[in-house]
């Protein structure tokens, strides 16, 4: 008997998180209502241990379980980001769930389970493992979206998410099955080694590549596979929306990049064009439709679609034919940098929406922000910084993210793509700054004056502080994060 100890140590962070999730499910039914916060703190503790372990093993490249799992810098970068975002979501939910009168501690268990799914996705080196990670994340998210089960809107969005999510997983899986037939394996490295010049025109390879891109397109909400996003983001509990907009998008992008670059690295001529079309459609439609939205959650949903479009620029650069390896790698690292920055600002914006929710006030219509500057100076200022950053205006982090992406595009000879990105970034300033205008230039109604009480609590303050620190500090000193992203970028062939 030989216990694969080395393999188990490699996935120890995942095991800790999943163990904690199981523990929460066991403890939740027998914990009295007043003690539920303890379970949230326990899950935060598990995340902290996890972060320390990932930091400890940062850098190297370890394969485990006969090449099913890979832990490299790329995986560690995403795992750190995902753990951080999950921790912030848990902190945010502790207050938000109380506002919504949900006292079920298994919510934290679900966050941890979704996190395990995402961590598995980003370090899967086999399509089977990546698929299992995607499904663990998606199935958990279907439940979390419908967590306000006494509210028809939440359940309805959950049903929509379920139908389209399961549909996209089916498409992705069919693509994987065809690829298995061609390559005889689902290992990314073995798929890459069976791809040759003939594969470029092999119909089976092409179909499977297309199906896989469509499947991941749904997960990252790229146009034209975005239709579920606004409805689901609007109907879900706000803290879940924040989690989905940030963590699930980041993890899907991470797995998408790894599959395209590691398995289909030899087929760049086949997929770069498709990704380019997706990218242009996503940037254009996300920004244009966001302009007409009056619900802030829905507006942020379209903004998250638009940001996915910007991030795809990085993937286009990484796949563009004839660029040097260094420039391609820069495409990947600027995508990583962009999504990390996007996480901070989006999480901050959704947190603001979440804390406006109290009592009868939904806090998600644009009108609910009217005159917020008069009612709550600090809150209005934070929201303004997040909006300015989302619009990509210096000196915030949003500018840095866009700057590195567009520079990568210019270096790859895609200056026109950078120009298109710039134009739409300018358009996006319109709807982001409208929120700021509403907060600062309009007078609150007398009724609003009376009802304003932000659902602030120490835990939410920590989330907002983290988000604002991320947005401001990364805007002024982007150096460290840029070099970390450069170090942990995926090797592009």
């Amino acid at each position: 008997m030989n216990i694969p100890l080395a393999d188990i140590v490699t996935i120890l962070p995942e095991l800790i998180v999943i163990g904690m999730a199981c523990l929460l499910l066991v403890l939740d039914p027998i914990t009295p209502k007043s003690k539920k916060d303890l379970l949230a703190w326990a899950s935060l503790g598990a995340l902290a241990v996890c972060v320390i372990m990932i930091l400890g093993s940062f850098g190297g490249r370890v394969m485990a379980f006969s090449d099913l799992v890979v832990v490299d810098g790329y995986a560690s970068f995403w795992k750190l980001l995902l753990c951080l975002v999950s921790g912030m979501t848990i902190l945010l939910s502790m207050t938000y769930l109380k506002e919504e009168h949900i006292d079920l501690a298994e919510f934290y268990g679900f966050i941890l389970l979704a996190l395990v799914g995402m961590m598995v996705m980003v370090s899967g080196a086999d399509l089977l493992v990546i698929y299992l990670g995607i499904e663990l994340m998606s199935i958990t998210l279907y439940i979390m979206v419908g967590f306000k089960r006494f509210e028809a809107r939440s359940i309805e969005s959950s049903a929509k998410y379920f139908v389209l999510g399961a549909f996209s997983s089916g498409i992705l899986l069919y693509g994987i099955s065809l690829l298995f037939g061609v390559a005889g394996s689902t290992r990314l490295s073995e798929i890459a080694s069976t791809m040759n010049d003939q594969s470029l025109s092999d119909p089976l390879v092409l179909i499977s590549l297309m199906l896989i891109i469509v499947g991941f397109g749904f997960k990252v909400a790229a146009v034209p596979f975005h239709m579920w996003t606004p409805d689901v983001y609007q109907g879900a509990p706000t803290s879940v929306t924040a989690f989905m907009a940030v963590a699930s998008k980041a993890a899907s992008f991470a797995a998408f990049l790894r599959v395209l670059l590691e398995a289909f690295g030899g087929l760049k001529p086949n997929w770069t064009g498709m990704i380019l079309v997706l990218c242009l459609l996503t940037v254009a439609l996300g920004n244009l439709v966001a302009i007409v939205q009056t619900n802030v959650k829905r507006m942020l949903a379209y903004s998250s679609i638009a940001h996915a479009g910007y991030a795809l620029i990085g993937l286009v650069v990484a796949g563009w034919i004839g660029t040097e390896a260094g420039v391609s790698a820069r495409g990947v690292s600027s995508l990583m940098l962009y999504l990390a920055i996007y996480s901070f600002m989006t999480l901050g914006a959704f947190s603001m929406v979440a804390i406006l929710r109290n009592g009868g006030l939904e806090g998600e219509e644009l009108n609910d922000f009217t005159g917020l500057a008069k009612r709550h100076k600090g809150g209005a200022f934070l929201m303004m910084v997040f909006m300015v950053s989302l619009a990509g205006i210096p000196p915030t982090a949003g500018f840095i993210g866009k700057f590195y992406l567009f520079m990568a595009a210019v270096n790859a000879g895609l200056a026109w793509l950078a120009v298109i990105g710039l134009v739409f970034a300018a358009i996006s300033a319109f709807y982001y700054l409208r929120v700021v205008m509403v907060m600062y230039m309009r007078e609150p109604s007398s009724e609003q004056e009376l009802t304003t009480r932000l659902a602030l609590s120490p835990s939410v303050s920590v989330v907002l502080a983290c988000a604002i620190a991320g947005v401001v500090l990364l805007g002024i000193f982007p150096g460290p994060l840029v070099s970390v992203a450069d170090l942990s970028t995926l090797p592009v062939k």
């Binding site: 359940i155 139908v163 298995f180």
Partner: protein
């Protein structure tokens, strides 16, 4: 003498297309769920066929996992549909217009 691989591919392709079209044109959410199951099962046909054709067992392993995941998905899906029915007494997706579809 055995059934050639292309037969299986055509079969699974047809089953997949039936599922795909079913999801897109049917309005009853339970039928949509069944159509999604058809898509997943088409995948399983592919995996088993390729696995036997290539003499590679990993395809069958994939089927085990796909089956389990599909079962979990169906259980969660049914739960959501029941919750939905409790709210609106309908399982026709055209009735769910509270959020712009």
């Amino acid at each position: 003498m055995e059934v050639p691989i292309s037969f299986y591919l055509v079969l699974s392709g047809l089953v997949f297309l039936i599922g795909l079209v079913g999801v897109l044109i049917r309005r009853n959410i339970i039928i949509i769920l069944l159509s999604i199951e058809l898509m997943l099962n088409a995948t399983n046909i592919n995996f088993v066929a390729f696995s036997s054709y290539l003499g590679n067992l990993s395809g069958q392993v994939f089927v085990f996992f796909a089956l389990t995941v599909a079962a979990a998905e169906v259980a969660v899906g049914l739960a959501i549909i029941i919750a939905l029915y409790r709210h609106s007494a309908s399982i026709n997706i055209d009735d769910f217009r509270m959020l712009k579809w």
